[in-house]
């Protein structure tokens, strides 16, 4: 189907004996036209395809409109009426307020997102509302503004009410002049459709904590493959992309946008006082006897217990506080290893005091853990040992680091020995403890919700800018056909680029050429890897084409 807006040739429209004609002065031909074409020609240099169809739908019936557009695309292929280049989108207005369409899943965030991120998203929304117009599709069946606003706990988001009709995607209700679509909480399966058939940037918040399972990782791969060159992931953790770096042709789609930290709440406090409070709360006096190491697990409950058993036997001279947000709260504390569930409202308020009771933090930079915990604990001045895929950029390397390689299928390998060595080193070197605490504080001070909001909006501006300089893959007319091979005497398949002299083209490459018109290079690579008979051929083909 022909895409608008398009620039027109030098045309002269006229009527003769009740019939309508267009003279294309650039091509030197006269084309008899109907009223629909007449109207299209008058509007198509300013309207986009969808808008044009909507305008025509008021006046003509559906099939008339589609027949006409079909006919126009044939004329266009013949080099008539339209100039070769699509009219450019108007450039982005840098300082104007952006109009952002939010996905409805934010309403469900309390069900789908962890408690920590739910609260952080709320903060982020409050900031975004100050700088952008936010629209939210709301099914009319729950036409209850107060409920929605309560759901969001943010005022100023403009609901777009639509009749709850399963036959249409909410994507149909995106305002025409929107600058982008923002999915702060993970897309529901239904919302994945935002990645298809739209021409405005989509930014997907990619929560590291949500990537614990294989299923979630596969969903991410699926979304990643569908991202167009003007879409992006906004990752909350810097190390998320390390896991995907071998699976994704271009890690440039992962943009690291950390949440903010409320440093008026999370700040260094009187450690002795905090330790006493914690010891009282846990009813465990042993905590006061030895240094207390906070351990953010990021592993499943079974693995967490295994990890702690190993850590404890390797390093028996400290006490541990495992900070988790597991829904299964059946960990049994003993004198040495204690548990703190961050996911309850009551404990959340206690968390700055509890974090301040720590002498060190062991944090995993792996999938399935929220980077927010790292920021909040470091903001309390706690020296940190990070183990995982890559040094977290969040704290500019203000940590001791133990590297583990990402593994696609095996459980994460637990570098217990190295971690306990680092712990020993840390407790033997108070200067290092102080240095890490101090550098951590400085690094974290940069993270505000205001900055996070601005970075998201700037990302949209950047992505919109890419719309204009879109490097459309060259469109070829291809023909796939069978043929009788004179030499082998068999029926085989072949592909041709149709031009004045048809040029044979490798069939696998022709498949790639066709797919690239509507699919991303990553999608095409996926297909080629599945169908190419020769290893390494997918890369070669794509290298030639993209």
């Amino acid at each position: 189907m022909i895409q608008f807006p398009r620039n027109l040739h030098n045309l002269h429209q006229f009527k003769r004996n009740g019939e309508q004609f267009v003279a294309d002065l650039d091509a030197g031909v006269v084309i008899p036209v109907n009223e629909v074409i007449w109207d299209v020609l008058n509007a198509c240099s300013v309207l986009e395809t969808d808008a044009l169809i909507d305008t025509l739908a008021d006046k003509y019936n559906h099939s008339e409109v589609f027949e006409t557009l079909n006919y126009l695309s044939k004329l266009s292929e013949m080099g008539l009426l339209f100039s070769a280049h699509q009219a450019e989108m108007e450039p982005i207005r840098c300082n104007e307020r952006l109009k952002i369409f939010m996905t409805a899943s934010i309403l469900e965030s309390r069900k789908t997102t962890s408690f920590l991120e739910g609260a952080a998203n709320h903060q982020l929304l409050k900031m975004l509302v100050n700088h952008a117009d936010l629209y939210l599709p709301v099914s009319e069946k729950d036409n209850n503004r107060r409920e929605i606003e309560e759901g969001l706990r943010v005022e100023g988001v403009q609901p777009i009410f639509f009749k709850s009709d399963r036959s249409f995607s909410p994507a149909k209700f995106i305002p025409k002049d929107c600058d982008g679509i923002l999915a702060l909480s993970p897309l529901t399966i239904g919302e994945q459709v935002y990645l298809k058939f739209n021409t405005i940037p989509v930014v997907l918040r990619l929560s590291n904590a949500a990537l614990a399972s294989h299923a979630a990782r596969n969903t991410t791969l699926e979304r990643c493959a569908a991202l167009k060159h003007f879409d992006a992931f906004a990752c909350d953790a810097s190390w998320t992309q390390t896991f995907f770096s071998d699976l994704v042709p271009d890690v440039g789609v992962f943009h690291h946008i950390p949440y903010g930290v409320d440093t008026s709440v999370f700040k260094p406090m009187n450690k002795t006082k905090c330790k006493h409070q914690l010891s009282q709360a846990l009813g465990n006096e042993e905590i006061l006897q030895k240094p207390l190491v906070g351990v953010v697990s990021g592993l499943n409950p079974h693995e967490t217990l295994r990890f702690m058993r190993k850590l404890r036997s390797a390093n028996p001279n400290v006490n541990y506080l495992v900070i988790h947000s597991s829904l299964m709260d059946d960990f049994e504390s003993d004198g040495c290893v204690n548990f703190f569930n961050i996911a309850s409202q009551q404990d959340k308020e206690a968390s700055p005091f509890i974090f301040n009771a720590l002498d060190a933090l062991v944090f995993p930079a792996i999938l399935g853990v929220s980077p927010l915990l790292l920021l909040e604990i470091v903001a309390c001045g706690i020296p940190t040992i990070v183990w995982g895929y890559s040094i977290p950029e969040e704290i500019s390397g203000a940590c001791r680091f133990v590297q583990v390689a990402p593994s696609l299928f095996d459980p994460v390998q637990l570098p217990v020995k190295s971690i306990s060595q680092e712990l020993k080193f840390l407790f033997e070197n108070p200067d290092e403890q102080r240095r890490l605490g101090q550098e951590g504080l400085e690094a974290v001070s940069a993270y505000t919700y205001e900055a996070a909001g601005q970075r998201i909006l700037n990302l949209f501006r950047d992505l919109r800018g890419r719309l204009g300089c879109q490097s459309n893959p060259a469109k070829h007319r291809l023909l796939f056909k069978k043929h009788y091979n004179l030499v082998s005497g068999e029926i085989e398949s072949e592909a041709y680029v149709l031009s004045k002299i048809p040029m044979p083209v490798d069939l696998e490459q022709a498949i790639a050429m066709t797919l690239l018109e509507e699919h991303t290079p990553m999608e095409v690579k996926t297909v080629l890897e599945s169908i190419c008979r020769e290893p390494g051929r997918a890369e070669k083909i794509l290298e030639n084409l993209v």
Binding site: R166, H483, H519
Partner: protein, 565 residues
């Protein structure tokens, strides 16, 4: 020089910026013109050329006006500005009684009659066109706009000229008929002309693969409302071995002109031919006829062998040339006649007692010469190859033959000269049986008429038109994604396709929002966005082989059908 007065009702003049133009609505062309031509066009419907020179000469000088009239004359010679083609852009209605408007794409010039046939293809096409004239309006592409009779006109078309192509598009045809599928120069018309295309296949295999490849090229490009017109089921059955879409083949038997081809007094016919060729033995012996090109592919060598095996019969052949057999020692009972004019043919064929046509595999999709001979009441002896048995039915002897079905481009069938000779001899020695079979051949031939062919082709045009109208609805393209998949059970990275429940119009037709699919299915759906299902068939054939390709395609097309209706 342009000879005025000339009508200009189909011309439209206009000014754009500071330039002057004239649009020729009948030829779909716009030309930039100068002030002199502008004024000539004002005057030319009413005044003679001389009057125009006199009138405008005062203003521009006589030379300038004459030069302008000369260049307009050149334009006229090229079919522009003054060739007034009746324009009929009425929207086509599906009125059963209305004459269908057919565009005929052929490389040869339209001819009212053919005197000498160059081959079965041109005879078949010519007769089909002539018989369609009674029921349809035919526009035949040619060098000039020219009206032949009330229902047939030639339309000027120049290859790779957009204006003449536009003119054809603008005429809203009900259907397009090709002369032969081997004429692939018109293939690109499929992209621009919306009407159903009917492409005849008169030659199905052999020819070193050329004919099958031309067929496969059309097959790849054809839309669901186009069709191959095949003269017997044998062609469809041949293609069925390597393409999936059998429904695109429509069998319509060819016909025979019963006024031209009918039984005459056999002895008289023999006497006349004997006199004409100065071969008295024709009048007194049994005559075994051969009527085709005298080539190995048509069984010439086998025919010679049969002549040697039956030395007492007279073997009479008519062919344009003897080809390389001219330099060979031919048996004395073989008599060669030059090609006969079409109006003399019946007399010649009537001199045959038996028609012996040992053509090889791949040559005869139908056997028009066979039918013409049968129409003269001559019993045929043919091998059981390709379309011949379907034409002969039980009105002749069909000799068992060996066909190698896997062979497509080369020689793939043999018939034994001995078996053929035995069959011929059995008829020569049993006059009663021969006459009875000749009568049967005549009766069978009578059931094949060109009028019947035309009626069947018109029924096909209407059927295709109906399919087109049903097809023309909006096809909902689904958002297909392809993504790598970490299969933790098999511990490997796999590829998969996802059917997202959203169409380009943001509809959600399905129950669930997302369906995992194999790459094969996802790829098929994605390719169907840009390519016809025969093209997708070619891709799947390459990737998965014929049988699996067929299964995948059926599944995917079934799904599209379920969604779009």
């Amino acid at each position: 020089m342009l000879v005025c007065p000339k009508p200009t009702t189909h011309l439209h003049k206009f000014q754009q910026g500071n330039r002057l133009y004239v649009a020729d609505l009948s030829q779909c062309v716009v030309l930039a013109i100068d002030k002199v031509v502008w004024e000539i066009l004002d005057l030319c419907p009413l005044f003679s050329s001389e009057e125009i020179v006199e009138e405008l000469g005062k203003k521009y000088g006589n030379e300038a006006v004459v030069a302008a009239l000369n260049s307009l004359g050149t334009m006229e010679g090229r079919g522009l500005l003054f060739s007034n083609l009746a324009t009929d852009r009425s929207v086509t209605k599906t009125d059963a009684s209305r004459r269908l408007k057919i565009l005929v794409l052929q490389s040869e010039r339209y001819a009212a009659d053919i005197t000498r046939a160059t081959g079965g293809v041109s005879v078949a096409h010519h007769n089909l066109i002539k018989s369609l004239e009674a029921y349809t309006s035919l526009d035949v592409v040619g060098e000039h706009d020219e009206k032949f009779n009330e229902h047939v006109q030639s339309i000027r078309y120049q290859r790779s000229d957009r204006a003449t192509l536009l003119k054809l598009i603008g005429r809203n045809y009900d259907a397009v008929l090709l002369d032969s599928h081997q004429n692939t120069q018109f293939l690109s018309f499929l992209r621009y002309v919306d009407a159903p295309f009917v492409v005849p296949i008169y030659s199905a295999r052999g020819h070193n693969g050329d004919v099958i490849n031309a067929g496969l090229l059309w097959y790849a490009a054809m839309r669901p409302f186009d069709a191959f017109l095949v003269p017997t089921n044998s062609v469809r059955d041949l293609y069925d071995r390597f393409v999936c879409d059998k429904d695109i083949f429509h069998t319509v038997f060819l016909g025979v002109d019963h006024n031209k081809f009918q039984p005459l007094d056999k002895q008289r016919a023999k006497n006349e031919v004997a006199r004409m060729l100065n071969k008295p033995e024709i009048a007194t012996s049994s005559v075994v006829g051969f009527f085709s090109r005298f080539q190995p592919e048509k069984g010439a060598g086998i025919y010679i062998k049969i002549a040697k095996l039956l030395p007492n019969a007279c073997f009479l052949l008519t062919a344009p040339t003897l080809n390389f057999y001219a330099h060979q020692q031919l048996p004395p009972n073989l008599i060669c006649a030059p090609q006969q004019p079409r109006d003399q043919l019946a007399r010649f064929l009537n001199a045959f007692d038996v028609y012996c046509f040992p053509s090889m595999v791949g040559e005869e999709t139908f056997g028009l010469a066979l039918l013409e001979t049968m129409a003269c009441g001559v019993p045929p002896v043919v091998p059981q190859l390709d379309g011949l048995p379907e034409v002969v039915g039980d009105a002749g002897i069909v000799v068992p033959a060996q066909a190698y079905d896997d062979e497509i481009g080369s020689f793939a069938g043999t018939v034994s000269p001995n078996t053929m000779a035995d069959a011929v001899n059995s008829l020569l020695t049993d006059e009663k049986a021969r006459l009875a079979l000749g009568q049967k051949a005549r009766e069978r031939a009578l059931t094949f008429t060109w009028d019947k062919t035309a009626q069947n082709v018109i029924a096909l045009f209407r059927k295709l038109k109906q399919i087109q109208q049903l097809e023309n609805g909006y096809k909902r393209p689904f958002g297909i994604s392809f993504a790598p998949y970490l299969n933790s059970r098999r511990r490997q990275i796999e590829s998969r396709a996802i059917l997202n429940n959203i169409t380009a119009k943001k509809e959600r037709p399905l129950m669930k929002d997302r369906y995992a699919q194999s790459i094969a299915e996802g790829l098929s759906l994605a390719l169907l966005r840009k390519h016809g299902h025969h093209e997708v068939e070619a891709v799947l054939h390459y990737l998965y082989g014929r049988e699996k390709a067929k299964a995948i395609l059926e599944k995917v097309l079934g799904f599209e059908e379920a969604v779009n209706g």
